[in-house]
Subunit: 364 residues, 2 copies
């Protein structure tokens, strides 16, 4: 019982149970008929010795580890502000929880680009928020590791194993909301991270502006800026004769910062300046004055990404065929397509795509 924890192998179990090692193996896996008597003898011997199968040996032999990797791409997600940490934590927590439910190991993959870092045994890998033409996707593909992404790599529009967010719908709703509140000149402060989040939101903003015959105004604000630098960059853009009466700021911590800058400039929020952000965090939820925010719905993204990964690993040839939970998704809609509110559009070939998750906006 309280044996000194020496690692006991299948061979010792076989000896003690007086059977061949293959019998022990099969007694556990059930992959071939074993007489009741033998099975019991084996299991008892194993229990007495405290046998525990060596996962590396098993993986080496079978070629599978039963482990899924996770890589979170955004540079500023890990280091950085509490807001970024919150976003990171929410996604990681959701994926971990979902994997736990599925009783499958999830491993945070350390530095896939650094050759000096030890490789990790994974059957597949979830890559969250990839960049355009993402190098990690390239590398994993080269290694032959099946990948599922949370949000698409914007340079790989045809990649079918991506869970997408429906940006056009939600960003349009956000813009319409601001407009209904009286906004006439909306400036978008976008980030420098080249991912779907920045790209799609910008595209949607431009398309909306064109449709509404408004002059778009896009400013770039690096996610890596210090609060002071960000404030300094934003300040001159909030004043002057053509100043905006509403701003959309990608990162929520910068959004909170903008409200302070505005106050310092004598602008009242939201009367003189409405502020909205493209990610929802505690900051945006509790800011005073209030900040309207887009919720990326990490929990749903995670749930679907995990489901998609497991489907892919169990041999699904393409995402659509084996997809089982179209609940919150509009799977029929090809990426980029927009449908009218309340209307479901079905198109040929659409079932070859992974689902699109609905984001939402919280109006404040």
């Amino acid at each position: 019982m309280s044996r000194p924890a020496a690692k006991v192998t299948i061979r010792e179990v076989a000896e003690r149970a007086q059977v061949a090692i293959s019998t022990v193996s099969h007694a556990f896996s059930g992959s071939r008929p074993i007489s009741q008597a033998t099975r019991e003898r084996v299991l008892r011997a194993a229990a007495e010795l405290g046998y525990d199968p060596n996962p590396s040996a098993r993986s080496l032999r079978t070629g599978r580890s039963g482990i899924v990797g996770l890589v979170l791409r955004p540079r500023y997600a890990v280091t950085g502000t509490p807001d970024r940490a919150e976003t990171f934590n929410r996604l990681v927590g959701s994926i971990a929880t979902e994997m736990l439910r599925r009783k499958t190991g999830l491993i945070h993959v350390p530095d896939i680009d650094d050759p000096s870092v030890a490789r990790v045994p994974m059957d597949g890998c979830i890559v969250a928020h990839p960049y355009g033409d993402d190098s990690v996707l390239t590398e994993l593909t080269r290694r032959g590791i099946p990948v599922v992404t949370v949000e698409e790599d914007p340079e790989r529009p045809g990649f079918p194993w991506a869970v997408r967010l429906d940006y056009p719908a939600v960003v349009t709703a956000l813009l319409d909301h601001l407009r209904e509140q009286g906004a006439r000149r909306i400036t978008l402060f976008t980030g420098t991270e080249d991912n779907a989040w920045n790209r799609r939101t910008r595209e949607t903003y431009l398309a909306w502006s064109a449709r509404r015959r408004r002059t778009p105004r896009v400013e770039v604000l690096s996610e890596g800026l210090t609060p002071d630098d960000a404030a300094a960059a934003v300040r001159p853009l909030l004043t002057g004769r053509s100043r905006p009466d509403a701003v959309i700021i990608a990162t929520s911590d910068f959004a909170a910062l903008v409200t302070r800058v505005a106050a310092a400039e004598g602008l009242r929020v939201p009367d003189d300046l409405m502020v909205a952000s493209l990610t929802d965090t505690e900051h945006s939820r509790t800011a005073s004055p209030p900040i309207t925010a887009m919720d990326l719905n990490h929990e749903k993204l995670a749930e679907h990404a995990v489901e998609l990964m497991l489907a892919r690993l169990s041999g699904a040839g393409n995402p659509g065929n084996h997809w089982s939970s179209p609940r919150c998704c509009t799977c029929a809609r090809p990426p980029g397509a927009r449908d009218r509110p309340g209307r479901t559009v079905r198109r040929a070939g659409a079932d070859r795509h992974a689902p699109i998750v609905d984001a939402s906006i919280t109006k404040r």
Copy 2:
């Protein structure tokens, strides 16, 4: 370059480079002298073939995987309320971030008790918030896997590889704060989870009550209760002639709930009833009326747990000897001991213990 991602082995690299496979191995590991010419030939062959060492084969051979496991014990942390999720996410996120910094793989271990679930290759395992006489600790120890815990198993007080929280100091501070605000009858609502959090806070409450010559009043509220059941259980205890003028409720979501129950009973918070919680979440931070809360300081716990784990894996015989970051810790203080504010106590043998992290309270 864009080879069809067939897994290439060390043998093929050896063939292409016209060397023995052991030479290839050593060319990568640098564990024996290799001539410059051969090394280059090997590395080029590897690059051309897209060689990627098989981690399972390596682990099988070396006996180490370079991966650390993570198990989060509290039953209600994963499923359950948003508050629990936040607590879970914060801890998981912090540990993941810290492990990433250390370029070491972190794996969420699925269901260690369930024999049908595939084992996972880990060199060590971090167990967060273990129960008293925790079965997972027992099992891991039996398997000979080095363990570090976040908070101690209350039934294993001598276990040195535990990062502890300084409950006496912070809970006493919390009680003193309530008392200074005028609280005369403080009731503690404790949970049913048998872990350090519940035990230590209760002990401290009882000790404080004895010291202050107050009659302690402890009520038990299972963490698994639905909000409705929790409300129903709490309601009668808030009223009556000997009703408390302050309550400390372990879980913050129940704390928020108590404020609602109190309001429904016509009690004003905090005038008629002060409310404090033993964990800090967005709920407690933003509740109105305000909730004083204890912050478990997950980030620091995580940082220290990871550091301790890596120290243990690199052969540290005991925690104290290899401990390098006593910044926020009062390592000299044996578990349970209290020192006077602003005074550092050093005791013999204290360096054999892992650090004690300071929690804090946020007064609201």
